[in-house]
Amino acid sequence: MVVADTERLTAKTFGVEDSHPDWCGGCGDFGILSAVKQALAKLGRPPHEVAVISGIGCSGKIPHYINAYGLHTLHGRALNVATGVKLANQDLEVLVAGGDGDGYGIGAGYFVNSGRRNVNLAYLVHNNGVYGLTKGQAAPTMRRGQKTKGMAEAAIQESVNPIGLAIASGYTFIARGYAMAQPDLVDLIVRAVQHRGTALIDILQPCPIYNDLMTIDFFRGRDIGHNRTYRLADEGFDGRVHDPSNQDEIVAKQQAAIAKSFEWGDRIPIGVLYQLDAPTYEDELAGRLPELGTSSLLDLAAPGQDISRLQDAYR
């Protein structure tokens, strides 16, 4: 194995030749994997400086297909593990991936609290509305009253609004992507990674086997004669807070993002809904111990720390 030359990074650099996805044909996960590799090439970090941390589910397998450090963790706990990885070594570029059940269901508490912390991570949620790996049960994003062909009965629980929840939790970069809109998704991932703080991209994706409602045809709008997805930027929507010290602007931008998050049906917005430059958790840590502003715990926390002063405090 050779260390990658950062001068010649391509999507292929981040591919793994002898490990092949076991996703179903037509799965949105292929689109997301492809966009991640392209984005990583654009970001210019060599593979050994990247860590991809995933949850459990079809999407959780994504680190197996990326040439980088990878941890395929537990159902709903990817953000926790990623938080530990990033705080241990801030020099790593940490991407987190998981499904909508993983992030908004079993991991909902960690989804909320990760927003509060604002660790410098990019979190990609593969949102297909169903639990694929367990054969098609409704995910927390399945709308009330909807019934896929795989569900025994229509959903009688209300769906979660991930964008609204992210706003309420303090995420500082919130976007929605679509797995099949490649150049846009690559661009969103690049921006999410470059953002300082916790970035969420809720990525809509078809599940060709279990979700016969959110199909490629649905997103293409074959029934209504136009694409359902549209770019927020094309309509002049600007989710970025330009003056982070202006509380009024922050509230206005949050309200606008939440309003947009309820758009569904014939028109589904894609793009950055909200972005705020705010101190990261790492910034706050450097406020406590300035060395953490320039070095990682990995380098600072060596065994054999001098504790004589500490012991003497108890004498």
Partner: protein
């Protein structure tokens, strides 16, 4: 089953004689408003500063304010590690301290502490508290009543300062200390210098006020105490005045810093959070991040992530939190994370149970803390110093064997204060385990879970050039790829479990067990964890007062279990008594499982209180006199 409770203990040795520095002191009162904790801790510290050996332990309810606290201080001229049942001096801030509460009297479970007072002992109480003096009904003890608030007021006004209850009533906590000093013939300046240290620069005017309160309390106590001399005196031992007075939670915190633990996570829980709070205060001084997570699932998994990224990581919790950590522990083990170190401060279970009380109920849970079969290490320290040293070693073992390590401590160690020369951390080895570097593989891809002779696969810390790998909570190949094939499954299972055999082989004996006392004895006491204190204190008493020679087999390493040495020691023992703070005799079950030896004589306690020295003595005496089988102790 023999159930015993409620009877006063036999008198302490040499009760009639003057006792120098051998004191059993207790203060009781309501939580938060009473100043019980500060009185006890200041008094304990003053004794430690004077060169006495001190052991001090607290009993408190799971409440914010108002419920009964009792705090003991025991001093000695030789090291002490436990409390005794009797008290020489009882400081009562309220009626409950003496008589218990009516609701509890229904259960005959908490009848107050009056019955603990030794013959010729003294009760010092607040004359203004609602205490029915006539109910004391003991003519073998002395009662000293002081009007705490009046005394504080007079002391303040004497200095020409207008008395202000809000500002000055805090000095009530000096009254019992001053009174104690008078009876014990102990110079109040030991206390005054501590007060000066504790008070901030702008409150130094309070030092003189505190001194006056101490002086007045001492004077009035001397006047109210009818007798010439109290039977215990405290004599300073200046040659020993440099030792520490420290709680287990702080000792472990210091050990984590020393070990280079860079990342500690926690969720608030009694009695564990004090350790994390201590570490939080050190974040501006040392490279450690203490993260208060949203729950223990997050705590655990964050620590696992940091361990994979190469930083020594730890978390700290009690039983309820450890229940939530189960899933993450299994994940750490199958992915061969280097750690994390989990300090489990046991308390009374099940469920919420007894949040602030002692137990050793979590041994079996700690041995099998998650589904599936996986390796991890479980090790139980016997006191604060051992807790520090074992915590240090736990990081070494996590790094070397690439598995989580559970340090199984408890409330008795967490909250008890003990005098120590140091924590014994200097000179302990540092082992970060085997690392992988690019040069080691040549052109071959890195195999994170490589099958090796020892079972250990050199690890590439995230960020190592050329080491990119993925690993997973699924069963996986040497390269960390998901795999369900039969041969690979067996090879990886065997590889992981083999590391436990290696650990059993490599971990030096001193971390596995200790035999305290004579190799050959009438009785061999077997235990683990914090019962070490009362058991080791009981050994000389058993010999000198009851003519029973006893030794103590303390088992520290519980997984991997030192089966052959335990079998050998037990086969050689004449009469074995198992001592545990639980209902089931969990160590006994483990010993039976690992050695085939069933220990019939048990001394168990599951009342949520730690063993006292006297209870161990009592248990061994009773087991020596008859074949009792299962003996249950409680002295409410």
């Amino acid at each position: 089953m023999v159930a015993r409770h409620g009877k006063p203990n036999r008198p302490l040795a040499g009760d009639d004689a003057m006792k120098e520095n051998a004191l059993s002191w207790m203060i009781g009162g309501p939580a938060l408003t009473g100043g019980v904790n500060s009185s006890a801790e200041v008094f304990a510290k003053a004794c430690a500063r004077a060169g006495l050996y001190v052991f001090s332990n607290i009993e408190y309810h799971s409440n914010i304010m108002g419920r009964h606290i009792s705090y003991r201080v025991r001093t000695s001229d030789t090291p002490v590690h436990s409390h005794v049942e009797q008290v020489d001096l009882l400081l009562a801030l309220d009626s409950e301290t003496l008589f218990g509460t009516p609701e509890y009297q229904d259960y005959q479970r908490h009848g107050g502490h009056l019955h603990r007072v030794a013959p010729d002992g003294v009760v010092i109480l607040d004359a203004k508290a609602k205490i029915d003096h006539s109910a004391i009904e003991r003519d073998d003890i002395h009662v000293v009543a002081l009007a705490y608030d009046d005394l504080v007021r007079e002391s303040v006004e004497e200095l020409g300062v207008t008395y202000n209850a809000r500002r000055h009533s805090v000095m009530r906590n000096m009254v019992p200390i001053g009174a104690s000093c008078a009876l014990l013939d102990f110079d109040i300046n030991h206390v005054v210098s501590l007060v000066a240290e504790v008070l901030p620069a702008h409150r130094q005017d309070m030092v003189e006020m505190n001194r006056h309160v101490l002086l007045h309390a001492a004077e009035q106590a001397r006047r109210a105490y009818a007798k010439e001399e109290f039977h215990v005196t405290l004599r300073p031992r200046p040659e020993r005045n440099g030792h520490m007075l420290i709680k287990g939670v702080d000792a472990v915190g210091i050990a984590k810093i020393h070990a280079g633990c860079g990342f500690q996570t926690y969720y608030p829980i009694a009695p564990a959070s004090d350790e994390s709070v201590m570490l939080e205060r050190q974040q501006t001084q040392y490279p450690i991040v203490v993260l208060q997570a949203e729950d223990e699932i997050a705590s655990m998994n964050m620590a696992v992530g940091a361990a994979h990224a190469g930083v020594r990581a730890a978390t700290s919790t009690a039983g309820p939190g450890f229940s939530l950590m189960a899933e993450g522990l299994g994940f750490a083990s199958i992915t061969e994370a280097a750690g994390p170190v989990v300090v489990l401060w046991q308390r009374g279970g099940p469920s919420t149970g007894l949040p602030t009380r002692q137990s050793q109920q979590d041994l079996r849970f700690a041995l099998q803390p998650a589904h599936g079969e996986f390796p991890h290490i479980v090790v139980a320290p016997g006191d604060a110093r051992e807790a520090a040293r074992i915590t240090h070693m736990a990081f070494n073992w996590g790094d070397r064997y690439q598995m989580p390590v559970v340090v199984l401590a408890d409330k008795f160690i967490a909250n008890s204060l003990v005098t120590l020369d140091d924590l014994g951390l200097d000179g302990l080895p540092i082992d970060r385990g085997e690392y992988w570097t690019l040069e080691m593989n040549g052109s071959e891809p890195y195999r994170r879970h490589r099958l090796t002779e020892s079972g250990i696969s050199p690890r590439a810390v995230f960020g190592t050039p050329g080491g990119q790998y993925v690993t997973t909570s699924d069963e996986h190949t040497e390269r960390g790829r998901i795999d369900e094939q039969v041969e690979n499954r067996m090879a990886q299972m065997e590889k992981r479990m083999q590391k436990l055999d290696l650990a059993a082989e490599e971990i030096p004996d001193e971390w596995q067990y200790e035999m305290v006392g004579p190799e050959d004895a009438d009785v061999t006491i077997v235990g683990w964890g914090s019962t070490r204190g009362p058991i080791t204190d009981a050994l000389p008493v058993l010999q000198s007062e009851h003519g029973i020679s006893a030794n103590f087999l303390q088992i520290r390493l519980l997984r991997p279990f030192p089966a052959s040495v335990v079998r050998e020691k037990l086969n050689r023992a004449r009469r074995v008594v198992l001592v545990e703070d639980n209902y089931m005799g969990q160590l006994g079950m483990l010993i039976a499982e690992q050695t085939g030896i069933k220990l019939e004589r048990m001394a168990l306690k599951y009342d949520g209180r730690p063993f006292s020295q006297d209870e161990v003595v009592e248990a061994v005496c009773e087991h020596s006199a008859a074949d009792l089988g299962r003996l249950v102790l409680s002295h409410p």
